[in-house]
């Protein structure tokens, strides 16, 4: 419990408002980024930018709103582990999509 109390000390109302503002700005940025044709730079650039903004928003929520930044290593491990699992889901799904028409055993 003492850990939790210590963690709560790290955050205060202005900081929570700061997190909220980052999320609002991120959302607005996502909207305007979608209106610009970045796919002409390279295919998928629009999606990449949208994901980068989303990742930034998520990182701010996790690190500050959820206090992970001040937490013990085990909590960091749990947080990073969940991303590792997400990466497994994407990678193993993509190994299907990316090798359907070409790749090692492509038709």
């Amino acid at each position: 419990m003492s850990d939790n109390h210590e963690q709560h000390d790290h955050m205060n109302i202005p900081k929570y408002v700061g997190v909220f503002l980052v999320l609002v700005v991120g959302t607005i940025l996502t909207y305007y980024a979608a209106l610009v044709d970045m796919d002409s730079i390279f295919p998928g650039a629009n999606t990449l930018v949208a994901l980068l903004i989303a990742f930034t928003k998520m990182a701010v929520v996790m690190l500050f709103f959820m206090h992970v930044y001040w937490s013990k290593r085990l909590i960091w491990l749990s947080a990073i582990g969940s991303f590792f699992w997400l990466a497994i889901m994407f990678a193993f799904t993509l190994q299907d999509y990316l090798t359907r028409s070409e790749g090692v055993f492509g038709r």
Partner: protein, 555 residues
């Protein structure tokens, strides 16, 4: 039965127990006691099991004859779908963790309760909410997509209650996540002094691994079901190719959870069997560390094999080969457990009590279930076997032959602790044997039927396959009797059963060192663990030699 407190308790209480600590409805519905919550899970989960069993009976009666005569084909679709949904989401997944895990885990590690008792009660209410919504949908007409909700059936073609059932499963998933989270935090933070990680009972290790799968996998099925709902309502192209989606993406997302969900079902069962094999052989388990880490290995590798459900779905050959190879890999930790259990039996002082009969049943049936899984994990052979009764037989050998048998073994094993009453050992043994015989008679013929090409999910089949189907239906009747019997004699034991000793099996585990039934706080004084897991020598602090079972069990 007489108890010998000197050899059995040490940490128990004479002041009453969790069952007598309040008798009002509110004392149950608002309880934060993990044991009472487990009992409420037991009642609810058993009801879902019975409902799922009735659907199974309808399936087997329909398949008694080659024609689709008892059920109209559309109704048959709903019946097998609802059998699957009730059994998987509302029985198999919660049964061992939510009942036996909830009740026993704190007792086994020397804790007063789970780390988050309110969250534990919340998980029960969420389970009830999800279950009630699903039942409502079933009463309205149910769902006909198969328990897998494959797109485009579930998004484009089905006119049944996909949304309502999907929402029920979505809600239910949160119950699973909260239970898993609670177990992980409890195991990390609530262990008694001296209860080091490598002194934990293997049942606890199995639940730790299961909890990892629960919290990492369940959100994905929740999101997937939500995506189906979004596509059906808002017509966003996610799975429907006509609007830019991909139906195989659904299978990837669905099986990313649902294959590991198999391990949510079987890992706790393996934990139960580790307890039974060691304790009823009265011998320290062989290869403790290997069994503990094989649970973790199963949890990790179990996430890498989902594509073996999709070999003929249109996924790439490359992906098929990778998933096939990894499927062979995930068999290794399961095999490690089987070899270690067998080695534990060697030169053990084996007794054939009812729980041990179930443990033996598990070893034989899970062996068949596991090995036939390798058939289905082979990219070439599976083309012939996909969507046949071979698959049905395989997963029933794992789910029923493995999980349900282990669950029954666990219920019989811990019943004296949970209720303070002994059941009839005679009827217990008869029931265990009926279940074993009935199960094999039901499902072994289905391997042959599948190999001969009988597809699953059809109400009609060629006449030449009838004999094996009659065997299967006859077996289901025997299995049904075997499963109803424990309901009768266990309920009977609550009133008429002999009072159980605190440690009726004379075992060293912490849960056997408190009273039967345990007090609300589990232990009157904080236990201090100075012995290794499954320690049957003098080091365990119990004078077992002086109180051999024959002296104690005099009911």
């Amino acid at each position: 039965m007489q108890a010998s407190d000197a050899i059995s308790t040490g940490y128990g209480s004479a002041k009453g127990n969790y069952l007598t600590n309040g008798s009002t409805l509110a004392s149950w519905l608002l309880t934060k006691d993990h044991k009472r919550i487990a009992i409420m899970y037991l009642v609810t989960v058993s009801m879902f099991f019975m409902m799922g069993g009735l659907y199974a009976a309808a399936i087997r009666l329909e398949l008694l004859t080659p024609a689709s005569d008892l059920l109209e084909t559309g109704t048959y679709n709903r019946v097998f779908t609802q059998h699957g949904i009730l059994m998987i989401f509302f029985f198999l997944i919660p049964s061992i963790p939510a009942i036996l895990g909830n009740f026993m885990l704190p007792l086994m590690i020397g804790a007063k309760d789970l780390a988050m008792p309110r969250i534990n009660l919340l998980s029960l209410y969420i389970y009830w909410a999800g279950g009630l919504l699903t039942l409502y949908a079933l009463m309205q007409g149910g769902v006909d997509t198969g328990w897998t909700f494959y797109t485009p059936y579930s998004t484009t073609f089905s006119n049944s209650y996909v949304m309502a059932v999907g929402l029920g499963i979505f809600i239910n998933g949160f119950s699973s996540i909260l239970t898993g989270l609670n177990f992980i935090v409890t195991i990390h933070t609530m262990r008694a002094p001296g209860m080091t990680w490598f002194r934990l009972p293997l049942f606890v290790w199995a639940h730790y691994a299961t909890s990892l799968v629960m919290i990492l996998g369940t959100p994905v099925i929740a999101i997937t079901v939500l995506l189906v709902a979004i596509e059906r309502t808002v017509k966003v192209g996610i799975f429907d190719p006509a609007i830019g989606g991909d139906p195989i993406l659904f299978q990837h997302l669905f099986w990313f959870y649902s294959h590991p969900a198999v391990y949510i079902m079987i890992l706790p069962g393996m934990g139960v069997v580790s307890e039974l094999i060691s304790n009823f052989s009265r011998k320290k388990i062989f290869g403790y560390e290997f069994i503990a880490f094989s649970s973790i290995a199963i949890a990790v590798f179990g996430f890498l094999v989902w594509g073996h459900h999709m070999f003929v779905s249109g996924q790439s050959v490359y992906a098929g080969l990778v998933f096939s190879f990894l499927t062979m890999v995930v068999a290794v930790p399961s095999a490690i457990k089987m070899f270690n259990w067998t080695a534990t039996l060697y030169k053990g002082s084996i007794t054939f009590d009812t729980p041990m009969l179930y443990a033996f049943g598990f070893m034989g049936l899970f062996l068949i279930g596991g090995l036939t899984g390798l058939f289905l994990g082979s990219v070439g052979l599976t083309v012939h076997l996909t969507d046949t009764y071979f698959v049905v037989a395989h997963f029933h050998y794992v789910m029923v032959g493995g999980q349900v048998i282990a669950y029954l073994g666990g219920i019989h094993y811990w019943w004296p602790k949970m209720t303070g009453r002994m059941y009839s050992e005679f009827w217990g043994k008869i029931s265990a044997m009926l279940v074993f015989v009935g199960f094999n008679l039901t499902f072994f013929p289905q391997f042959i039927l599948g190999y001969q090409g009988m597809p699953r999910r059809y109400a009609a089949y060629p006449e030449e396959l009838q004999v094996l189907n009659i065997f299967s239906t006859a077996g289901a009747s025997v299995l049904g009797v075997g499963l109803v019997m424990p309901v009768v004699y266990l309920t009977h034991s609550l009133v008429f059963g002999a009072k159980a000793a605190d440690n009726p099996w004379m075992l060293p585990g912490l849960e056997w060192r408190t009273s039967s039934p345990p007090p609300t706080e589990n232990f009157d004084v904080m236990p201090v663990v100075t012995w290794e897991a499954y320690e049957f020598g003098e080091e365990n602090g119990l004078d077992l030699e002086a109180a051999r079972r024959s002296d104690v069990v005099t009911a």
